[in-house]
Amino acid sequence: MRLEVDITGKTFRSAAGGTHEVLAPVKFALQSGEVGVLIGPSGCGKSTMLRIILGLDHDFAGHIARPPEARIGMVFQEPRLLPWRSVEQNVRLAAPGVTDGKLSELFRILELDAHRSHYPGELSLGLARRVALARAFAVEPDILVLDEPLASLDDALAGRLRDEIATLVASRPVMTLLVTHSLDDAVRLGDRLFFLSPRPARIVAEVPIGIPRDTRGETEIAAIKASLAQRTQGDRIERDVS
């Protein structure tokens, strides 16, 4: 399985008139088992790119080759839960095949046990985001798309969930696209980092991380981060750290 993204441009026409160029030509590919990370300033076009890749927006120039039968699990930037369905129903509706055991495990990991029967309106934002994570995990996706999945969570929980994502990615051949503002998350989870320019977004640097995820210790991570920081000073990051 392979995801090929070849966007040559994307422009929005705003309601007030006027056009906004959001994506410059962007081209990359991702293999099964790989974690690609998109990092870029707020409003540069990351979410737009994800929507195009997932086929939610057809109004763009370019071409996307997505494995046709792939199951998709997505964490949107906002939770996008159904307010009229309980937490459990929300997950089950997206993942009808999920077993009771799997669901219980997910809820335990995400610390949602007490909220199974709550409606989304009765959740805090952090809880709602976790439900969105549970939903994406429950479908056992072939493509996992995460748009800032760990925002609004406290550090301890965010750390635990990051490890869970790593576990999931390691356990099955899943292709992952992660959008994040946290370099730490990017370095800990990513196989290839795509640094994006401000709007219109293009890839200013593609940084593969050679060390396998499970062997990255705190020292390696610190080293990668340092090297990244150094490169970013020189404004244009070129090739391959690690």
Binding site: L82, R85, Q89
Partner: protein, 245 residues
């Protein structure tokens, strides 16, 4: 409890008003009740009410389901909206009388003609309401459903329908009342039974207690259905909404 109280208040006000203006202008509750009981014990009430209710049920179901489907389509697909809109406005603004008369002329003084005519009268308002509801749908939830590859029906049932629920409720309530108003005209013009027929007769004889007796019986039926069926169901369906202050 409060509802009952409010209803009792209504009766009291009516009674006082009847007392003040006189029974000729407004029959008092007991006078109307007496007619109701008389008609009920002769069985005529049930006969006519039954006939009318059957027509109402059929025409209502027909118009609501068809109208909701068309309205949904017009709300979703711009082309359908553009094409359908002039027809819709025309249909909306065709007088009930004309539709009923034409239906009878074409299809004879038959039950089918009556029901079709009533349904056609209700149809456009169902379309209009559902179209607005569909236009107001939340696209971000649609996207969610599509990303998770929810089957059409499941997405419709769990994602779309709950958003349309308030529109359906509004359209159903005012629609039932419209169907009821129209069925009376249809019965007046070409049916040998039903509440409309009886109201027509009562009007010709200017028998106001009878007029009110038949009118209120239907209202009573709806009141009972609302209280026992619709409102508990709605309360359940709306559990998720933050409670009002």
């Amino acid at each position: 409890m409060l509802r009952l109280l409010s209803f009792a208040l209504f009766l009291v006000i009516w009674w006082i008003a009847a007392f003040l203006v006189g029974g000729a202008k407004l029959p008092s509750p007991p006078a109307v009740l007496q007619v109701m009981i008389a008609e009920a014990s002769s069985g005529a009430l049930f006969l006519h009410l039954g006939a009318t209710l059957a027509r109402v049920a059929l025409a209502f179901t027909l118009a609501m389901s068809l109208g909701s489907a068309i309205g949904y389509l017009m709300g979703r697909v711009k082309l359908a909206d553009r094409l359908g809109d002039p027809w819709l406005i025309l249909l909306l603004n065709l007088p009930a009388l004309v539709v009923i008369v034409l239906a009878y002329i074409w299809a004879g003084l038959t039950e089918a003609a009556a029901i079709a005519a009533i349904a056609i009268n209700k149809l456009p308002t169902a379309i209009v309401t559902m179209r607005e509801g569909t236009r107001a749908l939340d696209r971000s939830l649609d996207e969610m459903a599509s990303v998770f590859a929810m089957p059409r029906w499941r997405a419709f049932r769990h994602v779309v329908l709950p958003q349309l629920a308030p529109y359906i409720a509004a359209s159903a309530r005012s629609g039932l009342s419209l169907v009821w108003k129209i069925v009376l005209v249809a019965e007046l013009l070409g049916r040998p039974n039903g509440v409309g027929f009886e109201i027509g007769v009562a009007f010709q004889l200017f028998d106001t207690p009878r007029l009110l007796a038949y009118s209120l019986t239907f209202a009573a039926v709806v009141l009972v259905i609302e209280t026992l069926l619709v409102q508990p169901f709605e309360a359940r369906a709306n559990r998720w909404r933050p409670r009002a202050a």
